[in-house]
Symmetry: C2
Subunit: 120 residues, 2 copies
């Protein structure tokens, strides 16, 4: 079978559902609070925020991991670790392309978090 080289810039987007109603709508259950706090914890690190920003501002919608190490000035394992945390929180997706791995934001996940912070 012939290997076809895809040059799709966009990554597949997972289905995202809001974890809960906005904070101001009803009192958060203990379970929902646990879930939400894990997502915010992913945003509670300056390196991860910069990585997220690098992905979010990328014209192509995705960035090679190899282009993420130098901008944040951390070691390659550290960057890999942070990308994993973002991915496990569902804020980011990844896809292998040859030797490289491309990362992209999941806009719906960010929108879901925005929804949780909505006020009245």
């Amino acid at each position: 079978m012939t290997m076809v080289l895809r040059d799709l810039p966009l990554l597949e987007q997972p289905v995202v559902e809001a974890c809960c109603a906005p904070l101001a709508a009803e009192v958060l259950s203990a379970g929902d609070a646990e879930t939400l706090s894990r997502q915010f914890a992913a945003l509670a690190d300056p390196v991860r925020l910069r990585l997220l920003s690098l992905l979010a501002t990328a014209e192509a919608g995705a960035v090679c991991a190899c282009d993420l190490v130098e901008p944040v000035a951390k070691s390659q394992p550290t960057v890999s670790h942070h990308l994993k945390v973002l991915a496990e929180a569902g804020l980011v997706t990844s896809e292998r392309r040859g030797r490289n791995v491309w990362y992209g934001v999941v806009p719906a996940a960010l929108e879901a978090l925005r929804g949780a912070l909505a006020t009245r």
Copy 2:
């Protein structure tokens, strides 16, 4: 133990300015990332999220600290600690009323965080 609502239910709101442009607008500077991450860190705990939700859903716009201990099922010092973290992040304001201290959300601060998460 429930406190009766007195007059002056509303707390004074501090002036809030957004720390930075949305993540997707331009790449976050190291300094802005540090600032933003501290705010998200305040949201990265289930107890604090529930406290924030209790304040945000309060009809009166503020809640006596004495009414926050039982709902989150933590010790009084622990609740006091979390309220302090929320206050230092600028997400909450407090005001003494007699023996009690009333806490209320700072909606503008939540809106500022929502702004940072805006996508394109």
